[in-house]
Amino acid sequence: MITVQNLTKKYGSQTVLNIENLEIPTGQSFGLVGNNGAGKTTFFSLLLDLIQPTTGHIENNGIQVNTSEEWKPITSSFIDETFLIGYLTPEEYFYFIGDLRGQNKADVDALLGQFEDFFHGEILGQKKYLRDLSKGNQKKAGIVASFIGNPQVVILDEPFANLDPTTQIRLKGIIKDLAAKEDVTVLVSSHDLIHVTEVCKRIVVLNKGQVVKDIKTSTETLRELEAFFAG
């Protein structure tokens, strides 16, 4: 369960995020949409304690993220390629993350085995460092790394961008499977309205830092979102 209270983030006089109250129950698949500059990445960065809130706070499973670090073992994320360590091979990176999350090599290998389709033979055993992989393949590695160590909260910022069509479809399946587990909360942001309505049970629309829509996904949702963004 993630609870947001009176959260604002200001840079100078400009308010980039202002969420009065938001609750994401455990196990929900939560989608965040909005135009550029709407505050999606700011929200995720606050949730990961990478920036400080101007007012208010976020609680992740009862732990206030900017005062305690106890949320770290249960939370994992992939925000962008700066989350990757360029001079490691994908395998080394996975094992490193596994080490940090208390998983031995065998555990990590078992997990990677489930994603063979998703990797499409382009990630493992390539004898390439992560910095030499294409943007799309880097993204694949980052997303899978965020599944290591049975996290209860998974945060993915724009996971569909830069992926090829086949991979996008496979990723949708993976996120749906993950969201089907009762104890796993998945937070996804996206510019692709179709994908996000397909994988998320609930969609929140941010506009200029404010929550303007909070929808429980139904067959009508896509049309509603399209109508909103068409202005």
């Binding site: 960065s45 990961l48 304690d49 990478l50 920036i51 400080q52 770290k72 073992p73 939370t75 994992s76 994320s77 925000i79 700066t82 989350f83 990757l84 360590i85 360029g86 001079y87 490691l88 091979t89 395998e91 080394e92 094992y95 490193f96 993350i97 080490d99 940090l100 999350r101 390539q126 004898k127 390439k128 460092y129 910095r131 030499d132 160590g149």
Partner: protein, 489 residues
């Protein structure tokens, strides 16, 4: 067209990331550059008199000519590391209606005006002025200078041709060592073969044509090569290194530290900047030779303290001052992961400790210059281990400048801020002052003992100190994350 290219060049210089430094750093670097240029110019002017004194029975011009072959070879060798053809800058022009020939001329012409070529000018022009005052024939001197400039340009373009392969470097390095050895042991005098040839450039002004033609010829080969290869999949493709996976299983013996130790070792070994840092540090072992061998310094104990701190702590300061900026490109991941910050820092401390001990072991042969040298180095090493490691880690928490790991370290100011200069005070100057104080009041033994005691106190208090440092990193976390994200700082 060339004017437009030139204006782009101008902008790229003044808007470059390195240029946007804080004013203090800029001024300091400016002073340093001016100082270096003055030293170069002064040695250019002075070399005439030095040579006349060293070899009185020969004209200084002849003596200098004998060494020019070494200058050419060494310059080729050094440039291999420093100068690369910036082919990637071509990319944006490929799809614009600019002729390939102008692109190639532009990129090659630009390298003629590079800093490295100017450095030689700063040496040779004052030398020529002195020659004129000494009554050498004006026309000969002038054409000789032109010939030298043509040789500089030939070196410039030859380097661009050969630095695609590592073999060339080994060959040049080999030639330098072998020719010097032949000269030194008097087997065969390379100097005497090339001396008259280079002197000919002065004696027979018409020969100026030879280097000129050579420069134009090498330029043309470069041009041909570049012109035919301006394609994304040929010249413009960044080199990809084949990854060698290694699990460094022995690091597991360090328990929790192992994970980070492994990461640090891979970082150092797989990135250009950190890797060169290691080699540079190792080379500094020879720094002592410059001072220990000279009479004036033989009795100057504070100088020896400087050498001790510096040589055993060279990796400590080179690598340590940029912690944690080495990890800047993925720092936000580290901070959102389940990372024990303490272990992260301890792994860095361990790595630096090993380097200090290793460097100390390498300096043991300096005992040849007296027992004081060894004793002082020992004291300084202990001080580095106990005091300087926590100090440099603490100062690291003020680092907010991003470092791109895969760029060359030469002349690379990335990550440098006023902080880097401030660190010098506690790390280098304080131990020298402490030692000197006790040395002048009592004796060398007292100075060394005090350094050892301070170091040991630091080692005993290690846990408390590391707790303080860790707390500091936690406090500065947000500033670091924000700073490391800025690519142009």
């Amino acid at each position: 067209m060339f004017k437009r290219f030139a204006s782009l060049q101008w902008k790229s210089f003044f808007r470059s990331a390195n240029f946007g430094k804080s004013l203090a750093v800029k001024i300091l670097m400016g002073f340093f550059a001016v100082y270096m240029l003055l030293v170069l110019a002064a040695s250019g002017a002075g070399v005439y008199f030095i040579l006349r004194k060293a070899v009185p029975d020969q004209s200084p011009m002849c003596t200098l000519s004998q060494y020019l072959i070494y200058w050419v070879l060494i310059e080729l060798f050094l440039r291999y590391f420093m100068q690369k053809l910036p082919v990637m800058d071509i990319k944006p022009f490929l799809t614009t209606p600019v002729k390939k020939s102008s692109i190639a001329h532009y990129i090659l012409g630009r390298s003629a005006a590079s800093m490295y070529n100017l450095l030689s000018l700063f040496f040779f022009v004052p030398f020529c002025i002195v020659l004129l005052f000494q009554g050498y024939s004006g026309i000969n001197v002038f054409l000789w200078l032109i010939a030298i400039m043509a040789i500089v340009l030939s070196i410039n373009y030859l380097n661009l041709l050969i630095n695609k392969s590592d073999k060339a470097l080994t060959v040049i390095g080999g030639i330098i060592v072998i020719s010097y050895a032949l000269d030194y042991f008097g087997v065969f005098s390379i100097k005497e073969v090339f001396g008259p040839i280079f002197h000919g450039l002065y004696a027979y002004p018409i020969t100026v044509l030879v280097p000129l033609v050579l420069a134009v010829f090498i330029y043309y080969i470069n041009y041909k090569f570049l012109h035919d290869k301006i394609y994304l999949d040929a010249t413009l493709k960044p080199k990809k290194v084949q990854a060698n996976t290694s699990d460094l299983a022995w690091t597991k013996r360090f328990g929790d530290l192992g994970t980070f130790l492994q990461l640090d070792l891979k970082m150092i070994w797989r990135n250009k900047r950190t890797k060169s840092q290691v080699w540079i540090s190792l080379l500094f072992v020879f720094y002592g030779l410059i001072f220990y061998t000279q009479e004036i310094y033989a009795s100057m104990m504070p100088m020896k303290a400087f050498l001790g701190v510096f040589m055993t702590g060279i990796f400590l300061s080179n690598f340590g001052q940029f912690i944690p900026a080495w990890d800047s490109s993925y720092y936000s991941m580290m901070m959102s992961q389940n990372i024990p910050l303490r272990k992260y820092l301890e792994s860095k401390a361990l790595l630096i400790s090993v380097s200090v001990i290793f460097m100390f072991l390498l300096t043991i042969p300096y005992i040849y210059f007296g027992w004081e040298a060894l004793a002082i180095n020992f004291g300084c090493a202990i001080y580095n281990l106990g005091v300087n490691i926590p100090v440099i880690l603490y100062f690291g928490s003020f680092n907010k400048k991003r470092i791109e790991l895969d760029q060359s370290p030469f002349g690379n100011m990335q990550g440098t801020s006023a902080n880097q200069f401030l660190i010098m005070v506690p790390v280098l100057i304080v131990p020298i002052l402490i030692f000197s104080l006790f040395y002048y009041l009592f004796s060398v033994t007292a100075g060394v003992t005090v350094l050892c005691v301070l170091g040991l106190i630091g080692l005993v208090l290690k846990n408390t100190l590391m707790d303080k440092v860790t707390g500091q990193y936690r406090k500065k976390k947000y500033g670091m994350i924000a700073g490391f994200k800025e690519k142009n700082s």
